[in-house]
C-alpha cells in the first residue's frame, strides 16, 4: 500500500524564477523508510514540508494514505503526521512530558491516557520516565533532546513521520546511536518515515529506498544497493562517493548482494556463516580470513542465502564505469 504519493508535485516560491520542487512523481510504500538525499538547496526540505502542508504545492497533488491532502484541514493533517526537525524545536517552557503531550492534548485525549503514552514513549526512546518526565529541554543533552523530539512526533501514533535532518547537529557517535534507534523503532512500529539527509552514510544506513534530488527534480529513486551499483548518472555516482569501495562495502548489507539459498540447500558445519544484516565488508573480511569459497547467510539460524566473492566484487564494481 502507498503511504505517500507525489504526482507532479511542484513548488515555486514567490519571487523566485526557478522551481524549488519540480514535477516530483514518486510513491512511498507504507512501512518503509525513505531518505531524501541531495546537495544543499536542492529542495529536500521544501518537498518534505509540502507533505504536511507547511508549504502548499504550486502544482500537482500529494496523497497521504490515499487522501488528497488539500481535502483535509491543515491542522488536522499535521496532527496525523509526525514531524521532527533538526534543532529539536522543543518548547522550552514545557517539561519533557508536556512536550510529548502536545499532540495528544490537541487530539483531546484524557489526561491518564496521555500520561501513560508519555511514559511508554520515553521508554521507547530509552529515556527512563522517572528521570526525564519532569525535566525541561534546557536540562537535556542535544542527543536527548532529539530523542524527546522523536517521542513527541510519535505521540499521536501517526502512520507517517517526517524528519528533516533530525541528527544533523549531533556528534558522530551519538548520531550513530540515534540512527540505530530509528532503525529499531521503524522495525518495531512499522511507520512510514520520510527522512531528509545530506549525509550519504546516513542514507545508506537507514534507507529502504533513497530519493535523490537535484535542483528540485528526482534524479533517482531506488534501493541503496541499486543506487550504489547502478547510479543513474555521473551526478549520483559523485554524490554517493561511489569510488571508495571499502567504505561502500561497510555500508551495504549482506542481503543486498547474496543470492537466495535454493530450497534443498544444506550448509555444512565447517562453512563460515554470516547474518543477513551484517555488512559486505565483514563478509569480505570473513572470506579473506577463512579462505572459504562461499558464505552461508543466516537469519534466525536458518540458511537464507549464499554469498560469494564474486557477489561482493559485483556489488563493488558495477558503479565504477558509470
Amino acid at each position: 500500500m502507498t503511504a505517500i504519493e507525489f504526482s507532479d508535485a511542484s513548488l515555486k516560491f514567490p519571487g523566485s524564477s526557478r522551481w524549488a520542487v519540480d514535477q516530483v512523481n514518486c510513491e512511498i510504500e507504507r512501512g518503509k523508510l525513505v531518505v531524501i538525499l541531495g546537495p544543499s538547496g536542492c529542495g529536500k526540505t521544501t518537498l518534505l514540508k509540502m507533505v504536511n502542508r507547511l508549504y502548499e504545492p504550486s502544482a500537482g497533488t500529494i496523497l497521504v494514505n490515499g487522501q488528497d491532502i488539500r481535502r483535509v484541514k491543515a491542522t488536522e493533517l499535521r496532527q496525523q503526521i509526525g514531524y521532527v526537525i533538526q534543532q529539536s524545536g522543543l518548547f522550552p517552557h514545557m517539561t519533557v512530558a508536556q512536550n510529548i503531550g502536545v499532540v495528544p492534548r490537541l487530539l483531546g485525549w484524557e489526561k491518564p491516557r496521555t500520561q501513560a503514552r508519555v511514559d511508554e514513549l520515553l521508554n521507547l526512546v530509552a529515556l527512563p520516565p522517572e528521570d526525564f518526565r519532569d525535566r525541561y529541554p534546557a536540562q537535556l543533552s542535544g542527543g536527548q533532546q532529539q530523542r524527546v523530539g522523536v517521542a513527541r512526533a510519535l505521540a499521536g501514533d501517526p502512520q507517517v513521520i517526517l524528519m528533516d535532518e533530525p541528527f544533523g547537529a549531533i556528534d558522530a557517535i551519538t548520531r550513530t546511536a540515534l540512527q540505530d534507534e530509528i532503525l529499531r523503532l521503524q522495525q518495531q512500529l512499522q511507520k512510514t518515515i520520510l527522512f531528509v539527509s545530506h549525509d550519504v552514510e546516513e542514507a545508506l544506513r537507514l534507507a529502504d529506498r533513497i530519493l535523490i534530488l537535484r535542483a528540485g527534480q528526482v534524479v533517482q529513486y531506488d534501493t541503496p544497493f541499486n543506487i550504489l551499483t547502478r547510479p543513474a548518472n555521473p551526478f549520483v555516482y559523485e554524490l554517493m562517493g561511489a569510488d571508495d569501495m571499502v567504505r561502500q562495502l561497510g555500508l551495504l548489507r549482506v542481503e543486498t548482494a547474496m543470492t537466495d539459498a535454493p530450497p534443498d540447500y544444506r550448509h555444512t558445519e565447517a562453512e563460515p556463516t554470516i547474518a543477513r544484516h551484517d555488512s559486505l565488508r565483514e563478509a569480505l573480511s570473513l572470506i579473506l580470513r577463512t579462505g572459504a569459497r562461499q558464505l552461508t547467510v543466516l537469519e534466525n539460524d536458518i540458511a537464507v542465502g549464499i554469498l560469494t566473492l564474486e557477489h561482493i566484487r559485483d556489488s563493488a564494481s558495477v558503479g565504477v564505469g558509470a
Binding site: 491542522t75 524545536g89 499532540v103
Partner: protein
C-alpha cells in the same frame, strides 16, 4: 509624614485617582501595543517606521505632550492618559517585539508542524515565552506612567500631584510636598515590586532551579495552573 496621617482620607482619595489613571493607561497601552507588535512581528519592515515614530514621541517632554492633547480631549484626565499611553508605547512595543523575535524559529515551526492553530500557538507557545520580557516592559511603563500622572494634577486630572502642586503654590507647605513625594514613591515601589515578583514567577528558566523552598514550589504551581 504627619500630613499623610492627619489627612488620610484626602491622601487615600488622591492615591486612588493616581492608581486609576495608571491602571487605565496601562490597560489601553497594552491593548494598543499588542496588535502593533504583532504587525511588526509579521511585517518586519514596519519595525523601523513604527518604533521610530514611537521613539520620537518618547523624546517630547511629557508636559508638552499633554498640552498637545488638551485641544482634542479637554483639560482633564483624558488628555493626561492619552499622553501616558503614547509615552509607554515605545517601551511596550519594543519589549513585545523583542520577546516575539527571540522565540527560536524552530519552536514556532514545530508548533505549526504539530498542527496547532494560530490561536493555540499564541496562547500555548508565544504568550508563555514572551511573558517575562513583556512584564519587564510593563514594569518600566508602570513606573513611567506613575511619574507622568503626577503632572496630571496641573490639568485637572487629580492624583497625588495635587499635593505637590498645592504645596508649591501655597509657598512653604513642605509637609504637603513631602506627603505627595513619599506617597508617589511608595506607589512606584509597590508597582515595581509586584511586577518584578510576577516577572520572576513566570520566568520559565527559573523552574530549572526549583524544588528548594516551599514558596518557590508554590509560585511554580501557581503559574502552571
Amino acid at each position: 509624614m504627619g500630613y499623610i496621617f492627619n489627612n488620610l482620607d484626602e491622601v487615600w482619595e488622591l492615591l486612588l485617582q493616581h492608581m486609576q489613571m495608571t491602571l487605565i493607561t496601562l490597560a489601553i497601552a497594552v491593548l494598543l501595543a499588542l496588535p502593533l507588535s504583532l504587525l511588526i512581528y509579521r511585517y518586519r519592515w514596519l519595525n523601523v517606521p513604527i518604533l521610530g515614530a514611537l521613539g520620537v514621541f518618547y523624546t517630547i517632554p511629557s508636559l508638552a505632550l499633554i498640552i498637545l492633547f488638551v485641544p482634542l480631549l479637554g483639560l482633564n484626565a483624558q488628555s493626561v492618559i492619552a499622553a501616558m499611553v503614547l509615552y509607554t508605547q515605545v517601551i511596550l512595543v519594543r519589549n513585545l517585539v523583542v520577546g516575539l523575535q527571540a522565540i527560536p524559529p524552530a519552536v514556532m515551526e514545530a508548533a505549526r508542524g504539530m498542527g496547532m492553530t494560530s490561536w493555540q500557538r499564541w496562547w500555548q507557545v508565544q504568550v508563555p515565552l514572551i511573558l517575562p520580557v513583556f512584564l519587564a516592559g510593563l514594569r518600566l511603563s508602570a513606573v513611567v506612567a506613575i511619574a507622568i500622572a503626577t503632572i496630571g494634577a496641573k490639568f485637572g486630572a487629580g492624583g497625588l500631584g495635587t499635593l505637590l502642586f498645592d504645596g508649591i503654590a501655597q509657598a512653604g507647605r513642605y509637609d504637603k510636598i513631602w506627603a505627595g513625594a513619599i506617597t508617589v514613591s511608595v506607589l512606584a515601589f509597590a508597582f515595581n515590586g509586584a511586577l518584578l515578583t510576577l516577572q520572576w514567577a513566570v520566568n520559565p528558566t527559573r523552574k530549572l532551579y526549583k524544588s528548594k523552598g516551599k514558596v518557590r514550589q508554590h509560585l511554580a504551581s501557581a503559574t502552571e495552573s
